[in-house]
């Protein structure tokens, strides 16, 4: 746990870390409170796609979808924590002081794991809270969304780390992440439409997006007869895990072989 302790020493005095973490936690909580009370709405009049359900079991998918937007704060946090090392050249200093090159990468990997675990914990506690607040019942159906949220965060943060390790500058990395997201969204839609398939959903970030869809959209699309069957969720789980492994393998090769 030494590597994680070192990462913690680097972050705990960093104002931007606390600002981004604070924004993520507070905005996510506030948004859900707002949606639960129908202050935040999507739709018109009494129809609110956001607040469709904050009771079990739908609270998990509902909050999971909203979670997928807020994870960007964490992705930016991850980018900055890596690009800082390059702009201060502390990545070199860490190695010079005796850190193994792979340990430097693993420190960041543990940070990603820890942030993913903690934000998933926040998601789980909030889900339980809102579920119990709105009539209680059995929280177990759809509880697998908690695991999906973890995998989703892991995929997004690892992808952000991949970009930051290659681009090295925080501003450029954040721009690149958003540009890629835009590109991927368009490309996925284009492929699915052009080839009348769902395989476009297997792009790196989309594969995890499919784990946390907007619940109402899923039910709407199931009413529309479609030629293409949605891919089983296992495929998306498998794809997400594969992508995370691929990012790791690429970064491992890079950190071992290149000049720092």
């Amino acid at each position: 746990m030494l590597l994680l302790k070192i990462e913690w020493l680097k972050l705990k005095k960093y104002t931007t870390f606390w600002v981004l973490t604070g924004l993520f936690v507070s905005l996510y909580i506030l948004w859900n409170i707002g949606a639960n009370k129908s202050i935040v709405s999507m739709g018109s009049g009494p129809v609110n796609l956001m607040s469709s359900s904050y009771s079990f079991p739908n609270v998990w998918s509902n909050m999971g979808f909203i979670y997928s937007w807020f994870v960007f704060f964490l992705a930016i946090l991850m980018i900055i924590s890596i690009s800082n090392e390059f702009s201060f050249k502390t990545h070199r200093q860490n190695i010079i002081d005796g850190l193994d090159r792979l340990d430097f990468l693993h420190g960041k990997a543990y940070l990603i794991l820890s942030i993913s675990l903690l934000s998933t914990l926040l998601f789980a506690l909030l889900g339980l809270f809102f579920g119990l607040l709105n009539g209680g019942g059995n929280p177990l159906p759809q509880i697998e969304k908690v695991g999906y949220v973890f995998l989703y965060t892991l995929n997004y943060l690892s992808f952000a780390a991949l970009i930051a390790f290659f681009i090295r500058r925080s501003g450029m990395s954040i721009v690149a992440l958003f540009a890629y997201l835009l590109f991927e969204t368009i490309f996925v839609k284009l492929i699915n439409w052009k080839f009348d398939t769902n395989y476009g959903n297997l792009f790196p970030l989309q594969s995890s997006d499919e784990l946390l869809p907007l619940p109402i959209m899923k039910s709407l699309s199931s009413m529309v007869p479609s030629q293409t069957a949605d891919l089983p969720v296992m495929v998306y789980l498998f794809a997400s895990v594969c992508y995370i492994a691929i990012y790791y393998i690429i970064l491992r090769k890079k950190i071992i072989t290149t000049d720092l």
């Binding site: 680097k10 201060f88 502390t90 070199r92 010079i96 002081d97 090159r101």
Partner: protein
Amino acid sequence: MSTVLTIHNIKKNYGPIQALKGIELNVPKSSVYGILGPNGSGKTTLLGILLDVLKADHGEYQWNEFNSAQQARQQIGSLLETPNFYHYMTAEDNLKIAVQIKQRGFDDVDRVLKQVNLYERRQSKFSTFSLGMKQRLAIASALLGNPSILVLDEPTNGLDPVGIAEIRELIIQLSHEGMTIIIASHMLDEIEKVCTHVAILKLGNLIIEGSVGEVLNDEDTIEINASNREKLIDVLKNFDAIKSMKLEKNIQLTLNPNRNIEQLNQYCFEHGIILNHIIQRKRSLESKFMEITQ
């Protein structure tokens, strides 16, 4: 004398540019080993390879007192190029990270901060430091854990004359305590004042290596004169120990290898010349360096 570092045939290219062309070095224990060379000669590249931030294309190195390169880096103190610290953190917090990586105790932080006169500013953020203070903090970081080997790349960069003198004193003091110090610099008088050994690099080649005495000694110039100058010159012309002779206000000589000033003096005396002026001048590293690298 045992060697703490062995470097064997290290080569490094940056694209088409050969930065190091097969460097061979042995650094003796407890030496102050100066690596000299003009800008772009490969000094920092060589140290970068030894500290694993750069990868050599060929060759190998061995820190002989340690089991692995990582263990060596943890145990030796290093300063490479610019001081690299987290700008938003205080001097003390920055050193705490280095201490964690080196797996040493936190109590060492205060000691090294006092050693470089930064203890009073330990709670100041790194971003508020002057260049000289940043450099001193980097030296403090290198001193964490009382290393037996110190690797310093241009350690007096950015320091004022007082700071330079302080660092020089510190290096001399540490070397007296038995520490091996490897120091790269293009400031020759700095090296000359502290080093026991030198290696001179030029365009990625090792030009010369050895103790300061070996590199410079046989090149000492001897200045002599006598009241009968003409006779002295005639006598010297027939002396086989003379390598070169320059006639200036005094007569400047260099001697062939294995001949010394005592033999010269005796020869003159036996030929009826009493010298009234005799000075042995150590050749300066600067003149040697200029001759080699031009």
